[in-house]
Amino acid sequence: MDTFEESYAKDAIRSLLLDGAETLNRSGLTYLGLPGGRALDIIKLDGILKNVICVDDKESVLDEARRAISNLRLKQRKFVPGRLWEYLRDKYPNEELVADIAFLDFLGGGIVEQDPFAQEIAGLRSYFAKHARQKNRAFVLAWTYMPHDKGPSVYTNTLKKIVASEDIQLLQGAKGVQLRSLAIRLLLRQSLREHDMDVKLFHHALYKRVMNTIIIIYSKGRDHNLNHVLESPDSLLTEPCCVYAEGQPVPKLVPVLELSKLDKSHA
């Protein structure tokens, strides 16, 4: 399959990311993420961006990205070699820019560490801690993850350490995409709660049971420019998933707790 035709799903996510970012109702935004060599996310968001921070552990990918966005009029372009979670944990706190749009896009799965979630959680905490200092300013966070990880225990074992036991019960019996979707939402909810932030689940897309992308808009204190009413982090557990099934022209909204039915029907 041609590299650039596979991506209706990815392009739709980029469009949703743009839609989400536009609801912030402010200009000169900063993007942070792993845009890949073609930097399609950034190209899609051109027009609302002022600065970009591109992170990738392959310098050759950064070189490509640099060229791909060379014709965009941006104020600052930063190309940081390294892994995104490490960047979030170690360098992002001292970064002068604050990412209005962060796109944690891990092709092939983000959570594959030997010490599951250690880096990821530290990275997320560092990210949210920095953003919590920006009062009354909403941000967009998109996170794409794929179930190419080391299995459900990666999620459950880690979550046991950081969320309340009644929440862990939600994961009981869950597996496949449901477990992962719930786990990621629990993780995000936890971080948002820690910083007393409100949130809107802008979109949670599940493509062909493989690509899972969650886009949230959140802020600490009310952002009067924002086109959304934000709710408590608990709303993350009630908002449905938008399931894009193969061969179906119309996506379906499925409550996150019913996602397991998809696994069964697929099985």
């Binding site: 060379s70 941006l74 897309a205 449905p240 179906q248």
Partner: protein, 546 residues
């Protein structure tokens, strides 16, 4: 009878050209950062000329050259010059390394990069030059990599041009599937460290300017075609001249900031002057100068105005040629051109910059043009002197009014009294000069009279006359009894093409589009259940009657 020479075929190949020819192109002609940046920006400018302006408008592609730079913690610096112009295929990229074969000048009207030296002219800029290009409506993306360090390490008396051109370590081409999302070309100058000499040849010449804190902006302003910011007001005459000079407005940005020039607010609207040779207009100039001061323009804020200082800049297609006030030395007073801010745009085709961009190409056209330009400088000098005379005359009348008041108040010291009387006598003399009807006898007299009679001076002259007369000082210092009294576009239209396309959407695309609608439906207040119902209705509509 001696033997006649018989013709013998001798063929030349690239092996007969020494590799050091490259150094002649890159070092001797284009040594400095200004020359390198000019070449790179010119190429980007030319990339837009090949695109139908209607297409650019239809697709909302702005003519813009985006320059960005970066220095990473390892000390590797980069400058990227990107355009969204026509783009190049691999075959067309080959022109970057061909020498004097580029057909740009014949193919593109008013292309600026007409010397056909391609990337060789800028080769010493970095240690590597990477050109990546997406041609419009072309399925592949092309790349050319020139490894300058490798080339320089091979170059020498023993190496031929072929040894370089056909060595894939020195020059390599690549191709891959295009995303189809953008078109245009990016030239990336990579400097792997500070300037250094490899095998006697200098590379990384732009290294210092890869530091975002370095002043690359001045280099660009002084060497590239930077447009003025606005079409209207005082700038209209400037834009009109630029258009007449066939410059197509192309924006340039550096590190996200647009580079746009402007004039200090206190300068009046520029005046337009034609420079002619044999009755034909070969150049047009716009000139403005401070209306308050007689000397140099003092109010330029280089950060805001990006004028590259005061003075007059010669230009071809809006690209500066040489330093300001070129060819004025010895013709007019050295400081005089700095009394003005302005540009001289060459309109004639046969008057062109030379390869260095610092001078005009040799020939009779150059000589006759320079003579005409020097006549223009002299005219400006006369104007400048006249303005100076006017301002000085106004000052003398003001001084006389003050002196008359001081004399009337009394109590002046002898020295002050002499000074005041001198000021009054000078003013009275000027009042008399203005009223004379006879022909001036000397040049000085002519100048004085012209200044005193100038309409700008008239109000203060009349005021001074009145005050001096009332104080009976006019008669006292008068040398004559004669008294007389004297007195004073934007066309833009583009037809958009109606393109009717029959679109066939795949399920995937419909699905993606509908997915995008979900947050919007939520935003207008629909609950998840309601959105799901809407999606079901759509699903029925699409699939129901299949």
């Amino acid at each position: 009878m001696t033997d006649q020479f018989k013709k013998k075929a001798v063929q030349f190949t690239l092996r007969d050209i020494g590799s050091e020819i490259i150094d002649q192109l890159s070092s001797d002609i284009y040594s400095g950062p200004k020359q390198i940046m000019r070449e790179l920006v010119k190429n980007a400018y030319d990339a837009y000329l090949a695109v139908d302006p209607d297409e650019l408008e239809d697709e909302k592609v702005e003519r813009e050259i985006v320059i960005s730079r970066e220095r990473n913690p390892k000390g590797i610096g980069r400058i990227l010059i990107a355009d969204s112009g026509i783009g190049l295929t691999v075959d067309e990229l080959k022109a970057f390394v061909q020498i004097s074969l580029c057909k740009k000048q014949e193919e593109l009207i008013n292309a600026t990069g007409f010397r056909g030296l391609g990337s060789w002219s800028t080769i010493g800029a970095g240690s590597k030059i990477i050109v990546t290009s997406n041609k419009k409506n072309h399925s592949s993306e092309a790349q050319l990599v020139i490894d300058v360090r490798e080339i320089y390490s091979i170059m020498g008396p023993a190496a031929t041009l072929e040894d370089i051109l056909n060595n894939s370590k020195c020059i390599s081409f690549g191709e891959r599937t295009s995303t189809g999302l953008s078109q245009g070309t990016t030239v990336e100058v990579v400097c792997d460290g500070p300037p250094e000499s490899v095998n006697g040849h200098e590379l990384n010449r732009l290294y210092d300017y890869t530091d975002p804190d370095s002043d690359l902006r001045s280099i660009i302003v002084e060497s590239c075609a930077i447009p003025f910011s606005s079409e209207g007001g005082a700038y209209k005459v400037i834009h009109d001249i630029c258009r007449e000079a066939e410059y197509v407005l192309t924006h340039i940005s550096l590190d996200g900031d647009p580079l746009e020039r402007g004039l200090p607010d206190d300068l009046p609207e520029p005046t337009v002057h034609s420079i002619t040779v044999g009755g034909q207009v070969v150049a047009k100039a716009w000139v403005t100068t401070s209306s308050k001061y007689s000397g140099e323009v003092r109010t330029i804020d280089e950060d805001r105005h990006l004028l590259g200082g005061k003075g007059l800049q010669l230009k071809k297609l809006n690209v500066p040629i040489g330093p300001k006030n070129i060819y004025s030395n010895g013709v007019v007073r050295a400081t005089l051109p700095n009394w003005y801010v302005g540009e001289i745009h060459i309109l004639a085709d046969d008057i062109r910059p030379d390869a260095s961009g610092q001078d005009l190409r040799a020939g009779t056209a150059r000589e006759t043009f320079i003579a005409a330009l020097q006549t223009f400088y002299k005219q400006l000098e006369q104007q400048g002197e006249r303005k100076s005379d006017i301002i000085s005359t106004e000052r003398k009348f003001r001084q006389a009014i003050g002196a008359a008041e001081r004399l009337q108040r009394g109590g002046l010291s002898a020295a002050d009294r002499i000074q005041a009387e001198g000021q009054i006598a000078t003013a009275v003399q000027l009042i008399e000069e203005a009223s004379k009807r006879t022909k001036p006898e000397t040049k000085l007299e002519e100048k004085k009279r012209a200044a005193a009679k100038d309409p700008k001076v008239e109000p203060i002259r009349k005021q001074a006359r009145k005050i001096l007369k009332e104080a009976k000082l006019l008669d006292k210092y008068s040398s004559s009894k004669k008294r007389t009294i004297t007195e004073k576009r934007t066309v833009a239209s583009a037809a958009s093409k109606d393109k009717q396309k029959v679109q066939v959407m795949s399920f995937n695309e419909i699905q993606a589009r509908l997915g995008r609608a979900v947050p919007r439906l939520a935003q207008i207040g629909l609950t998840s259940d309601e959105i799901e119902q809407v999606l079901e209705i759509i699903s029925d509509l699409i699939l129901g009657d299949r």
